[in-house]
Symmetry: C2
Subunit: 118 residues, 2 copies
Amino acid sequence: MPEEVRDEKATQGIQATLDVMGGKWKPLILFILLHEGTKRFGELRRQLPNVTQGMLTNQLRELERDKLIVRQAYQEIPPKVEYSLSDHGRTLSSVLTDMCGWGYKHIEFMQSIKSGKE
Amino acid sequence: MPEEVRDEKATQGIQATLDVMGGKWKPLILFILLHEGTKRFGELRRQLPNVTQGMLTNQLRELERDKLIVRQAYQEIPPKVEYSLSDHGRTLSSVLTDMCGWGYKHIEFMQSIKSGKE
DNA sequence: CTGCATCCCGAATGATACTG
DNA sequence: CAGTATCATTCGGGATGCAG
């Protein structure tokens, strides 16, 4: 397989991952659902003080569309909606963990450089 | 450690990773440098037909700022500049590979759903 | 050959008010 | 409580022309 094609295919995979969890709040939402299980809309909202209702709804809709989370609505008054990771969403766990780990090493690396300069 | 704090820290790491490789062309640039080693500016440009000069320069500058790649300029006429992964940049390899792998599984997963529906 | 500066656009994000 | 609608804003991405 020519290099260009292989590179392009590799990037497709990475791009797909980025498309799915690249939103500004998606990583945090996924992380919360991964570690704390099912959450109601209001609970998520309270745990994400800087996210507006509209944005939260938006991000949740996209995650649902991409089959990473499951939305369960109860037809009650008052309304009640619960979100949880799907089985497919749980397969993101290792990637999420890896990125988290690398990110921390990166932050430390940058700080070590900074302090070394000054 | 309270849940909110742990979540926030976890997200910091993920966010740092996203900041660093989240640009539209960065994953591909990193992948090429990872697999093919040092490249001249013009070579990269030819391998990324859809990226404008300006964007390529931009992305390379950011990657350099984040210490993922090394820029070596030769003071010649005509100018010659080579880019290569730094040691730190190479530590991204496993993350890149993981994301690539998950992305592909995701693409297949979505296609299996689509074909199942129709 | 390589890179910078400038302008421009559309998408993503965010604030606010309203509804079942 | 959960969600929609609308409008403002910010920002990444892209085109073009110039420069060392």
